[in-house]
């Protein structure tokens, strides 16, 4: 099924208005399709292109905006965390430089220092411990009883002896609460060393990270290099649990990457390795949530596009249909006019031919008339022949034949005159008889019985006689074509009122099917395709009737016959008493 059929464009009936090679010019479906494709293409392609470009640009700009924002937050947060750690490391460093090993081993002094630290630095410092070079905790202040603990085989202790400072991962340890440890190495004058070790709770980190206002169901937390959570997270597990995302690779800068989380969601991860610590700051945002404003904008964009496309297509389809319909009607009118002109020219040619033939024949006919008349005169005057009835009969017969021939030529001459529009007074009965005389021979041969009933009181009236005769001739011709041999044609005239008469032509022919009856006056409507029917006879008749100001109606029953009724206006004042 083609697009055409699906849309069922109301262009009207496609008629073959042109024969042969020029038929392709009248393919209105093709014209319609071309117009729709061309105008649709020209207006829709740029619109769709611009919308797509716009779509891409907007999406890109929104995405990069989120990347940028995530990077900025990650970067700022990293600075705060770094500062937090560095500050505490520096405090411890200050303590080991400001106090001797001996002083630090005094419980009161260490307790004072812890209190000062807690007061000055706020939360964070949980306890303080002093460990000698053998790994033995010599002094401890804090909520736990950890004095005397041996750390000599612990990894962090080895690291602090080597590098002088250590920041640990978050762990539970002896304290059974998540914390991290910062340890610094202090040197004694004798070359031995000791370690000042502080446990720091993760509450300050938690505070810092949970305070962040993150869009897109964002989550900020820290992990160590193995991917173990160092602070609690909202959506990615609790402290010391393994994160359900992969650990991003090391870079010295803040980076943002896109990843699929294990539950299949697209996430945006901003991360930063925090220098001189085992921590990675991660900010994770759900892309779906982030992009929600974009999705609503995208929906608007798509709705806008669809509405625009449908409006444009409606206008194009409407305009194309209207225009093509107009073209079709104009073409049909033009072709009909051409046919009409051709038809009238043909009739005019026939008329002129008939007139010249009639004229040419009339002259020798007049001579025969005179010569035969002279013979008659001579016979009558001379007694020798006056009584010869046979000779007189012969001459009379010649004169009668001349008269008959004269009647025919007069009729031909009268026919030729139909072609010029001229108003004249006519006698209806006589006019009908004149038309029938053209059909007389055919009616006689087939045979077809014709009855004419014209009331005597129908007045003479003024009308274009040629047109009237043409109307009668066309209708009678049609009736003859519809009837079998032996058919009947009734022609009945009647005065409808003072100003109108009607003439009814009733035949007992094949009739007209119901579905065709409304179309018989349409130009080019014919059931005689291929049999010489042009479909113009009745349409010309219709036009002629309109031209003389009349109306034509039809009643028909299939296989029973057809009646054509012609209503003609008559002008009584001028038509009477001629």
């Amino acid at each position: 099924m083609s697009l055409w059929d699906k849309l069922n464009i109301p262009l009207g009936e496609t008629k073959e208005v042109a024969p042969g090679t020029s038929r392709h010019l009248f393919n209105y479906r093709r014209i319609w399709k071309s117009v729709v494709l061309l105008t649709g293409g020209v207006s829709l392609i740029p619109l769709i292109f611009i919308t797509l470009v716009n779509y891409g640009a907007m999406q890109h700009s929104i995405e990069s905006e989120f990347f940028l924002r995530t990077t900025r937050i990650a970067s700022n947060t990293r600075r705060a965390i770094s500062f937090f750690l560095t500050e505490r490391k520096a405090a411890l460093d200050f303590i080991v430089h400001d106090n001797s090993f001996e002083t630090l081993n005094k419980k009161e002094r260490l307790s004072d220092i812890l209190k000062s630290l807690q007061r000055s630095f706020g939360g964070g410092f949980v306890d303080l411990g002093v460990i000698d070079s053998s790994g033995f905790q010599r002094n401890y202040v804090g909520p736990y009883s950890l004095e005397g603990k041996d750390y000599s085989d612990q990894k962090w202790f080895k690291q602090v002896t080597e590098s002088g400072v250590h920041i640990s991962d978050v762990f539970l340890g002896f304290r059974k609460a998540p914390h991290l440890v910062i340890a610094v190495k202090g040197l004694m004058p004798d070359g031995f060393f000791y370690v000042l070790r502080a446990a720091i709770g993760i509450a300050p980190f938690e505070n810092l990270l949970t305070k962040l206002e993150l869009s897109g169901m964002g989550d900020a937390f820290m992990v160590n290099h193995e991917g173990v959570l160092q602070t609690p997270s909202r959506y990615h597990g609790n402290v010391l649990e393994k994160i359900r995302l992969s650990v991003p690779e090391y870079t010295p800068k803040t980076e943002v990457l896109e990843e699929k989380s294990r539950d299949g969601q697209d996430v945006l991860i901003g991360y930063r390795y925090i220098d001189e610590s085992p921590f990675i700051l991660m900010i994770v945002k759900k892309k779906d949530e982030l992009m929600k404003p974009w999705y609503s904008m995208r929906l608007k964009l798509i709705v806008f596009l669809l509405v625009s496309v449908s409006i444009i297509m409606t206008v194009i389809l409407g305009t194309a249909t209207y225009m093509v319909k107009k073209i079709r009607i104009a073409d049909e009118k033009r072709v009909f006019t051409l046919h009409n002109i051709e038809y009238s020219q043909k009739m005019a040619t026939i008329g002129r031919l008939a007139a010249s033939v009639a004229h040419e024949i009339n002259n020798p006919l007049a001579i025969i008339n005179e010569k035969a008349g002279l013979i008659q005169d001579l016979f009558i005057l001379k007694e020798k022949y006056a009584k010869d009835q046979k000779l007189l009969g012969l001459v009379n017969s010649i004169l009668n034949s001349v008269q008959r021939a004269g009647t025919i030529t007069k009729r031909l001459l009268s026919f030729s005159r139909h072609l010029d529009a001229r108003i004249e007074t006519i006698n209806l009965k006589q006019t009908i008889q004149e038309v029938l005389s053209f059909m007389g021979k055919e009616a006689e041969l087939r045979p077809i019985e014709i009855t004419v009933k014209v009331p005597e009181d129908i007045p003479q009236f003024e009308i274009d006689r040629g047109k009237l005769q043409q109307i009668f001739l066309n209708i009678i011709n049609n009736a003859f074509a519809s009837m079998n041999d032996g058919g009947h044609l009734d022609i009945k005239a009647q005065q409808e009122d003072k100003n109108a008469i009607s003439i009814t032509f009733t035949d007992d022919g094949c009739g007209i099917p119901k579905e065709d009856i409304n179309r018989i006056f349409e130009p080019f409507f014919t059931t005689k395709t291929g049999q010489g029917g042009t479909g113009l006879g009745l349409s010309i008749t219709y036009n002629l009737v309109q031209e003389i100001g009349g109306k034509v109606g039809v009643q028909s029953e299939l296989d029973k016959g057809t009646s054509f009724i012609v209503h003609i206006p008559i002008n009584m004042d001028e038509g009477r008493n001629e």
């Binding site: 007139a355 009639a358 004229h359 009339n362 002259n363 006919l365 007049a366 001579i367 025969i368 008339n369 005179e370 010569k371 008349g373 002279l374 005169d377 005057l381 001349v402 008269q403 004269g406 030529t409 007069k410 001459l413 009268s414 030729s416 005159r417 001229r422 004249e424």
Partner: protein
Amino acid sequence: MKKMRVLLVDDEEELVSTMAERLTMRGIDADWVTNCEDAVEKLETRKYDLGVLDVKIPRISGIQLGKRLKEKDPEMKFIFMTGHGSDDDFKAGSAEAGPGYYLVKPVDIEYLIRKMNEILEK
């Protein structure tokens, strides 16, 4: 009664000569010519009561010839004949020549004489 003098003009000699003969047989003084020059020339020598003219004669229409002859002899009356015998011609001719003076060929001789008498009696 004085003999009626008639001039017949038609380019068909066969027709016009026979008509003249038949009119003569009926006691009418009928002359005939086949063109307008001869007709004008005839009028120089004789006076006619009536001209019977073909509408279509070479170079000039019968009606124009009638007008020219009328200039020469204002008393002369005319009947026109045509082979183009349609009602239209009849009307057009009647308009110029007056009603009833316009006959269609072939013309019945008795009818022609009747018409000639009618015109001359007016």
